[in-house]
Amino acid sequence: MPERAAWDQLFRDVPDGRTGALTGDDKTAAEALVVDVEGFEGPLDILLTLARSQKVDLRHVSILQLAEQYLAFVEEAKRLRIELAADYLVMAAWLAYLKSRLLLPPEPTEEGPSAEELAARLAWRLERLEAMREAGARLMGRDQLERDRFARGAPDTQTLRRTVIYDASLIDLLRAYSRIKTRDDYRPLHMNRAPVMTPEEAIERLRGLIGDVLDWRTLSSFLPASWREDPKRRRSATAATFVAMLELVRRGEAELRQQEVFGEITLRRRAADAR
């Protein structure tokens, strides 16, 4: 990784964590770091890279030195006005704390893990991360499918034989037959008695009546007697008769009049000479 190399370079030059004045070349290297911070997978990744630069087994890495390296990195980043994500700064704060505890004699009253334990724990985390990184590399180095091992290139296509079975139960059969018989028995009856007057019926009826209607007559007076009482039938007959009236007016056979909103609608035959 070329950026990484540039980065390692920067810190190899300052192993004790003190950065001198940067030369032009150093500056270029440090700016490469900007890109590189992007490339790093968080503070632990940076710490692991720094620890490796100590060129010792991770178990023997100097955590104190590591903390200083990291803090130097953060200082450098600040100086170069590199925006560091919060977790890098949190890590810096924690390492500064760890460093101070490692340097100072332990306070007997202090609770919790000792500075050495904290340091050991950090070392262990780095070791664990490195172990996983190596495990990932080993995994990738295995004989991978479709790279080193291959599945059948032309697998046989599975033909799907779809069989549709139509099914019915005895009760379906009986219902079907009942449906037919019901239709047979009652159809004429129902048709006659359906409480619906069709517009066709109303037109027929109205045309039969209108010959006598020389003066205005209300809509309701045209309703047949048998359709006046039951509200459902009356509603249907009224609607149908109204449609019939409109139809006769359209045909020029009658005239309509309504004298006020929601008032009675009246109809009379259109005089022959007016046509």
Binding site: A154, L160, R161, V164, Y166, D167, Y177, S178, I180, L189
Partner: protein, 214 residues
Amino acid sequence: MPDEPEDDAAAPLFPSPPIEEQERMVEAVLFASREPLTPAEIAARLPQGCDAAQALERVRRRYEGRGVTLEQAGNSWAFRTAADLGWLLAREVVETRPLSRAAIETLAIIAYHQPVTRAEIEDIRGVAVSKGTLDLLIERNWVRLGRRRMTPGRPSTYVVTEGFLDHFGLESARDLPGLKELRDAGLLDNVPPGEAEPDPDDPNQPRMFEDPDD
């Protein structure tokens, strides 16, 4: 076939792999290939000095009679499922669907009125009966052709089959419940004609327009 590459024009830089190894290679190449391969194409993939034709022949023999065999199509070779095992790769999917309304009504009429002609079925249903509907019932082994009616035109009649009785759990078509039983079971509207006003919301009431036949 001689195994000695000695007299080849260009002597190979490395000894060619043993024929057993070449056989493995041909096996792998053919297995992984998306298309059938010609001997020349196979040879092009093997290391120099290999005898693709011989290795191919060895692979072919090795798979003879196996579940998968090496087959030639034109000049190309590919592994194929043994012809007698093709059925293993066909998956049966059985889908159950309800009989259409037209079909169940037709079936009911045949069951109750058998032997019955197509014209009679149409008369009872009040709708034309499609040939497909009758074919479906025949294919399902519920209906078969009965004797021709001794009337002008000698029309075919339809009757229900043993398979029908079996499926619907009937001893004979005479076991089908009569109209009175249907009525008692609440399947037939049991209001005698001419009495109460039928309720227009009653789903049993025929609509002014029949549903289109399904």
